[in-house]
């Protein structure tokens, strides 16, 4: 197929149990910018079951067109079924660029689609642009985020990439935006793999990627002092608790609370690192926070090279002092 026949910027809009994932809406904003540079349209692929309430959402966030498949077999995400459906949509609509949010489902789905189509794919991009030849510039941070690699897919189409969630801002929801909505029927063959059960994680608190203040602890923190973290958290609105990887590996916190290369990328207003040394793999997940503060008893800890405010000391002394001062501020004088 000649490259010329492929046109438009397409985003896969991921919904889970009837909720569109914010990471794919964030990508719509980025897709709009690319489409403007290429003077083309933004389209959204949406897959699921009983999608009526959702189909207009991508339009409100910047899509010109929504192409959706509403099928009982697609009620739950199944990598095999979703892949088959998306491959059929891509073959029919021939996107020049096809972007997928790098959620767990997205990171699994995207490469299997690329392999089926025998096209190139770039993982976890943190920036996009269009080069002078009109190719999609896919910018990603390999080697634990130490470098930025600029990648293109010069010949094959579509140009595919996944993007890291929470790197691009969420576009404003504008319900007066208009667009075209197309219902597609695709073949869904019987899968050889089936979801038999789902157990919802116990997420009482705010997910860490949505928190504005993150109180984050590492191996230097003893969980016997957990009450200190909670007390601290209570002084801030939209705050939550996150951690470094050894804490998760030790089974002390769920993986959904891990910050870093193999965890989540966060960019809160305040990231307070307590007993975290500041390994490159950890920094990769929080280096874009607006204000980084650290409490560490080792004056040579790496984290002190990458923070706005660092307190050298034992957290057992520092946090109570901090709590005391914050209480004073709160008390009406």
């Amino acid at each position: 197929m000649s490259k010329e026949k492929f046109e438009g910027v397409y985003v896969y809009i991921e919904q889970r149990k009837g909720v569109i994932q914010e990471a794919s809406l964030q990508l719509l904003g980025e897709a709009r910018k690319l489409a403007e540079k290429l003077k083309t349209e933004v389209s959204a692929f949406l897959i699921g079951y009983q999608l009526k309430k959702l189909v207009k959402e991508p339009i409100y966030y910047g899509a010109d067109k929504v192409i959706y498949v509403d099928n009982k077999e697609c009620a739950n995400y199944n990598p095999e079924i979703y892949k088959t459906v998306l491959v059929q949509l891509v073959m029919k609509y021939k996107p020049e660029i096809f972007l997928i949010a790098g959620t767990k489902y997205g990171r699994e789905l995207a490469p299997s689609i690329a392999a089926d189509l025998e096209t190139g794919i770039t993982a976890d991009c943190t920036a996009f642009d269009i080069d002078e030849k009109g190719n999609l510039l896919q910018i990603r941070p390999p080697f634990g985020g130490r470098v930025h690699a600029y990648i293109i897919t010069p010949e094959k189409r579509p140009q595919m990439a996944t993007a890291r969630p929470n790197v691009f801002p969420l576009p404003e929801r504008n319900v007066s935006r208009k667009g075209e909505i197309i219902k597609e029927e695709t073949e869904v063959s019987k899968p050889s793999m089936a979801l038999i059960k789902f157990e919802k994680g116990s997420e009482a608190e705010i997910p860490i990627e949505k928190a504005e203040v993150l109180i984050s602890f590492g191996r230097g923190f003893n969980l016997e002092d957990a009450h200190l973290l909670e007390e601290l958290c209570d002084f801030f609105l939209k705050s939550s608790i996150s951690c470094s990887r050894p804490i998760v590996d030790a089974g002390l916190m769920p993986r959904s609370r891990q910050v870093g290369q193999t965890g989540k990328t966060v960019r809160p207003k305040l990231y307070l690192a307590i007993g975290i040394s500041g390994a490159i793999q950890h920094l990769a997940g929080m280096k874009d926070s607006k204000f980084i503060a650290a409490i560490n008893k080792d004056p040579n800890a790496e984290i002190f090279k990458f923070c706005d405010f660092g307190i050298i000391g034992d957290y057992k002394e520092v946090i109570p002092l901090l709590i005391e001062e914050l209480k004073k501020k709160q008390a009406p004088s």
Partner: protein, 267 residues
């Protein structure tokens, strides 16, 4: 009897990798290489399943000959046989070309029930290989698997658990299947000294090297030629500039800290 193939990569320890900002290249010289961390968990899972159900565990790696060190380590851990898939023509492969090459090697091994990969590598960190190889072998693939609950050798089915953002999913699939696993799902065992010695003495018995022709790969689809993506440039990632106000703990320091939080409109 379960036949399991594990894909492993011999990677520079990223913690030591330096970047040359002038040349725009990664300095790998003098950097220790290791088996990609989650690949050790993949090997451990394979060996544990072999102990439970019987069978064989093979390891494959597409790499320059230097990866033989990693393959020997895998054999010393208890793997039955290792295949080094190595050819100059495989150089500069992107994930699609790597997956194609690995899938040719897996087909050459022939029968298999389970193919296990690490979730991602510490150098390129794409997580592409598992899903792509699954696709190329024409069998289902599941990422982020944390546990294999049960294999039914009569029905030829497997039950797996995996973690996603909002919970835990339980899947059942027909064999064969490809899965990817992350660091922390188990504790990889140490190499056994006796096996390490055997591997050194009889390397050829445990490690086989396959070139392009041996795996019947299409030369147009491997290496640089077979890679649809091109790296245009690599630059040092800028670290956002920080205030770097570092103080010894004291009441004054804490007061100053709170003042800064106010200035930043955090409280």
């Amino acid at each position: 009897m379960l036949k399991i193939i594990v894909g492993i990569k011999w990677v520079p320890d990223t913690a030591d990798v330096k970047f040359d900002p002038v040349k725009g290249t990664i300095i790998r010289e003098g950097v220790e290489s290791i088996i990609n961390p989650p690949d050790l968990n993949a090997i451990e899972l394979a060996l544990a399943l072999k102990e439970k159900y019987g069978g064989e565990v093979y390891v494959i790696s597409m790499s320059p000959p230097s990866a033989i060190k990693g393959l020997k380590m895998a054999v010393a851990m208890g793997v039955d046989k290792a295949f080094l898939v190595s050819d100059r023509k495989f150089a500069a492969a992107d994930t699609l070309a790597t997956s194609y090459t690995l899938s040719c090697a897996i087909k050459k091994i022939g029968s298999y029930d389970l193919v296990i990969f690490g979730e991602e590598t510490i150098d390129s960190a794409t997580g592409h290989i598992g899903p792509e190889v699954g696709e190329m072998l024409g069998i289902p693939h599941l990422s982020y698997v944390t546990e294999v609950q049960e294999v039914d050798l009569q029905q030829r089915t497997i039950k797996m658990v995996r973690e996603v953002e909002d919970g835990v999913e339980f899947f059942q699939a027909n064999l064969p299947v490809v899965i990817s696993v992350g660091v922390g799902i188990n504790t990889p065992r140490y190499p056994i000294p006796l096996r390490r010695l055997l591997t050194e003495l009889e390397t050829n018995k445990y490690i086989e090297t396959w070139a392009l022709n041996d795996i019947g790969a299409d030369p147009e689809k491997v290496g640089f030629k077979g890679s649809p993506t091109r790296v245009v440039k690599v630059i040092a990632a800028p670290m956002p500039a920080r205030r770097l106000e570092i103080r010894e703990a004291s009441g004054e320091t804490v007061k100053l800290f709170i003042k800064r939080l106010k200035e930043a409109e955090i409280i």
